[in-house]
């Protein structure tokens, strides 16, 4: 008998999230972090074209147990999905279609996964200066890769390189590792400190979002030509702007990101977007947050181009996802688990 003594209860009269069968194709998976320290992370699943038949906690429905504390990211490797459960020190491997648990890989504070082969993947981790290396097929950690700075965060695999962002206020570099060995092959200077995430546009250029506004480090975009190492563009955010969670549109020529304000105001608070050839940062949001509202994630469906925006509602209750067209028209919303943050389009 489990000692947890917790049960989930649905509500009545709200936007319904019936426990429908888990959609298996053309769906949007939402990584819901939960409220730190409560163990109530969830994996929400909705069909890509409608919210009917949504499942608020598909992992629990499939496995009759909770995910754990802070579901940070979802990564597909082969026919399985790997879920980084950050504060439970584990990566869950589940079936891509049915979400049934197939294995658990203990890894300290995992954040994101960058797979380079069926048997090798790099895992960024909090509070350390190392990447964990795992064998997804074997289901175990096989080593670590030391880094010069702490808190490796965003990862990107491009060609035979793995690009790593150490989210450290002392770091102003993007690192490129040899995918096969993990050795540091190259580093690129950035326009700002504390790199968070790295993306690749349609022209093969790298876009690095950096900054840690709560620690007083202003944000910046740095665009790098990886072949030459040349900085193609750099855009500085003003102090006080907290930019996080970037994503590309389906043609990888427009960046979307979240600007968060926790003080309840609307200034510099919402979803912002910028074409890759822009000369300056956008002054107005694509979708503005309302007073006392802030967003926690944005994703773009590569099939439809629809924009998905995560509203965590303070991490004290179930969140919502708002769906917009690229023209900025609101389409629909659906309820998720607590703290929606990342999207995976399946």
């Amino acid at each position: 008998m489990l000692c947890t003594g917790a049960c989930s209860k649905g509500d009545g009269g709200e936007t319904p999230m019936p426990e429908a069968p888990i959609p298996t194709t053309r769906r949007v998976l939402v990584a819901c972090e939960g409220s730190l320290g409560n163990g109530n992370a969830a994996l929400s699943v909705v069909p890509a074209t409608t919210d009917s038949g949504s499942v608020e906690d598909a992992y629990r429905s499939a496995n009759n147990q909770s995910i754990g504390d802070i579901l940070q990211s979802i990564t597909r490797i082969g026919d399985r999905l790997f879920l980084c459960v950050n504060n439970s020190d584990k990566i869950l491997a589940v079936g891509q279609a049915d979400l049934r648990l197939q294995g658990v890989i203990p890894v300290p504070k995992p954040r994101y996964i960058a797979p380079v082969s069926a048997t090798r993947a790099y895992v960024s981790t909090l509070f350390s200066n190392a990447l964990s290396v795992i064998d997804p097929q074997g289901g175990q950690q096989t080593g670590t890769v030391a880094l010069p700075y702490k808190n490796p965060e965003g990862l990107l695999v491009a060609g035979n390189r793995v690009y790593v962002c150490p989210f450290d206020t002392a770091c102003r570099l993007l690192y490129a590792l040899d995918a096969a060995t993990g050795a540091i092959a190259q580093s690129f200077p950035l326009a700002g400190a504390a790199p968070q995430e790295v993306l690749q546009d349609g022209a093969g250029r790298l876009w690095v979002l950096s900054g840690n506004d709560p620690q007083g480090v202003a944000g910046a975009w740095t665009c790098i030509n990886p072949a030459t190492g040349q900085v193609v563009q750099q855009l500085q955010f003003a102090q006080g702007i907290d930019a996080i969670r970037p994503a590309f549109n389906k043609t990888a020529d427009t960046l979307y990101w979240v600007q968060v304000a926790y003080d309840g105001t609307v200034a510099n608070n919402g979803i912002y977007r910028m074409p890759v050839n822009a000369a300056s940062l956008p002054a107005t949001p694509f979708v503005a947050a309302q007073p006392l509202q802030y967003f926690w994630g944005v994703g773009v469906d590569p099939r439809t181009g629809l924009i998905y925006i995560a509203d965590p509602k303070g991490f004290t209750q179930r969140g919502s996802v708002l769906v917009y067209t690229p023209q900025g028209t609101f389409l629909r919303s659906f309820r998720t688990g607590v703290g929606p943050g990342h999207f995976y389009f399946d």
């Binding site: 709560p214 007073p291 509602k313």
Partner: protein, 632 residues
């Protein structure tokens, strides 16, 4: 009442030696088992309309080696939110938050000024002589934070003895999961001076077995506890008045075990508390004058080597109060002026402070041969740059010789804490106090017939609080005044006593129902409107049975805590749980001494449960305490 009687009333325990009391607003001095307990007089004389429940001496004796958290959670229908083994524990009353539930030590607020809460798991029962719960709001008398109720901890005051006397008390105990504790105390009483001291220490491994989420049974790791403290007090009677001083020092080292959803934990928290108090009172023809001054320091150090997290928090607080009381022909007047200054040094090195100055008064009148007691109170308080006025009226009416009805209407508030306003990053200096109105009404029935005696007390309440403070955020957390909460419900208790030859039998029960919902919110699309606030069980119930004969006593109790929600939209709930406790004690008198043995069993039926999500609670456990008390 003659002015001279006020002095005794100040030192009086407001309790009768039963579980539920408060039949009369003008209690006389009560001395239990040779112990004198400090009283403040405010709630006994100037709050006749409030429901007050006290733990009786038998219950206190049973929990003398435990914390106040254990006593409250097992014996009173209040919710003690325990954040797992070695985690802090906070108490809430009638749907109020922990910060809205005041804890007072002889009238001095113990709330840690930064966090605004009191960790009742770090309050040893052995350091208090009386524990009372005042339900409902009496903010005019007790101040900020008294929204849902107040927990009054009353010291055992060193008593004067014209013949001179000494007492010594020793206790040594142990129990399951590596528990070992010891206590020593004593008192020297003389005609015009008296001294007392207490020492306690406890360590425990707390490595109880529990089931993980995977279904395997493991022992709790990183769960060691060590804590101890010293308390000393002195009283002097001089022509200039009665002077008192008290010191309460304690430290705790707690290792925080992993939650069910964590793989491992290296968390550790160390707490230090210094509480120094001086007081004076004198009866004159013009009335009774009194003053108290206290300095409190709360230090907290938190370390987690696995995440390289470390924080140091030290909060200073100075509390002072001057008071004057006078009684003339059935009128009782109290004027008092409390002042409090709290200071916190932020990580950046700068200091932030909060200063509150209040002027308050209360007037009580007794009518109709003491059948009706009515009281009005008013408090004006200036907190930093804000002012608030708090009126209140309450009354009790004896409708029958055995039945008393009462009512209370009080404006109530809670000032934002230092953390809420100045925490870096995320503090919100624009926060305003949570405030609203509290209404409650109740009935008390107490009667005896032959060898039978019974007591029953019940109350219903309704309260609405505006500007409710909620924290939300992501990378950083910020508090906002974003909601209004309405709390309604009832609470009550009853006890039946029977004396059969030399055997005393008691049967008791208590219950509470609390409906506390968010009724307004400024958060867009807030799903919490109309829903119960988190960690506020609707139902709480306690029951117990006791038998005492000559040197032996046995007490069985059951505590039920209802379902409570983890989230503010009721989307996740924790199951109700029921635990049972059994205590058997024997007190053998010898010449000038009493030898005692107390055996306790907690969670008698080994029920698995969690109070807070993901933190397993221990199963069945045992403890045994040997004690010795000598008095001449």
């Amino acid at each position: 009442m003659r002015p001279a009687a006020w002095g005794a009333l100040l030192l009086a325990c407001a309790c009768s030696p039963t579980y539920a009391q408060r039949t009369d607003s003008l209690q006389e001095v009560r001395i239990r088992s040779g112990r004198v307990v400090a009283g403040d007089g405010k709630t006994t004389v100037f709050a006749p309309g409030l429901r007050v429940v006290a733990a009786d001496s038998a219950v206190l004796a049973q929990y003398r080696r435990e914390s106040v958290a254990a006593l409250l959670s097992q014996q009173l229908p209040v919710f003690v939110k325990t954040y797992g083994t070695n985690g802090p524990a906070t108490v809430t009353f009638r749907g109020a938050s922990s910060a809205q539930s005041l804890v007072l030590w002889d009238g001095i607020p113990l709330q840690q000024a930064a966090l605004g809460v009191t960790d009742v798991s770090l309050l040893p029962v052995s350091f208090v002589g009386g524990v009372q719960v005042v339900y409902g709001g009496s903010a005019a008398l007790l101040g900020s934070g008294n929204v849902g109720g107040a927990l009054l901890l009353q010291s055992e005051v060193p008593r004067f003895d014209t013949g001179g006397s000494h007492t010594v008390e020793l206790a040594l105990g142990g129990g399951s999961f590596g528990r070992l504790n010891g206590f020593a105390g004593g008192q020297v009483s003389q005609r015009r001076s008296a001294y007392s001291w207490r020492l306690f220490g406890e360590r425990s491994a707390n490595d109880f077995p529990y089931q993980t989420a995977a279904g395997t049974t493991v022992r709790l790791a990183n769960s060691q506890l060590a804590w101890g403290g010293l308390q000393a007090a002195a009283r002097y009677q001089r022509r200039s008045g009665t002077w008192g001083t008290a010191v309460w020092l304690q430290a705790a080292d707690r290792h925080i075990p992993p939650a069910l959803f964590e793989g491992t934990s290296a968390k550790r928290q160390q707490d230090v508390a210094w509480r120094l108090r001086g007081d004076w009172q004198q009866q004159r023809s013009s009335g009774t004058w009194a003053a108290k001054l206290a300095y409190l320091y709360d230090g907290l150090r938190y370390d987690d080597s696995l995440s390289a997290q470390h924080s140091d928090l030290g909060v200073h607080k100075v509390f002072g109060e001057a008071a004057w009381r006078r009684s003339v022909r059935g009128w009782h007047l109290l004027l008092f002026m409390p002042v409090q200054v709290a200071a916190l040094q932020r990580p950046a090195g700068d200091w932030v402070t909060q200063t509150s100055v209040a002027a308050a008064g209360a007037l009580t009148r007794v009518f109709w041969a003491s059948r009706l007691t009515a009281s009005a109170s008013l408090r004006g308080e200036h907190i930093d740059d804000r002012q608030i006025l708090l009126p209140g009226v309450n009354a009790s009416l004896r409708v029958l010789p055995t039945v008393l009805i009462r009512g209370n209407v009080q404006r109530t508030y809670r000032a934002p804490t230092l953390n809420e306003r100045y925490y870096q990053p995320g503090g919100n200096p624009e926060l305003v106090p949570e405030q609203g109105w509290n209404v409650d009404a109740g009935l008390h029935w107490e009667a005896a017939a032959g060898p039978w005696r019974w007591v029953a007390d019940a109350a219903a309440f309704d309260r609405r609080i505006q500007n409710w403070i909620l924290w939300f955020g992501g990378s950083i957390w910020t508090p906002h005044n974003i909601a209004a909460v309405r709390s309604r419900g009832f609470d009550g208790d009853a006890a039946l006593y029977r004396t059969l030859g030399g055997t005393r039998i008691s049967l008791r029960g208590s219950a509470s129902y609390v409906d506390a919902r968010t009724v307004e919110s400024q958060l867009p699309g807030d799903g919490s409107v109309g829903k119960q606030i988190p960690y506020t069980p609707r139902w709480n119930a306690r029951t117990g049975f006791g038998v005492a004969r000559r040197f032996w006593s046995l007490d069985w109790s059951l505590a039920h805590t209802g379902e409570r929600y983890v989230t503010s939209d009721e989307s996740l709930a924790l199951l109700p749980y029921t635990t049972q406790q059994l205590a058997v004690s024997c007190s053998l008198p010898a010449r000038h001494a009493v030898w005692g043995v107390l055996a306790r069993c907690e969670n008698l039926t080994d029920v698995p449960y969690t109070v807070v999500s993901g933190r397993p609670a221990p199963g069945r456990s045992y403890s045994l305490t040997l004690s010795f008390r000598w008095a001449d």
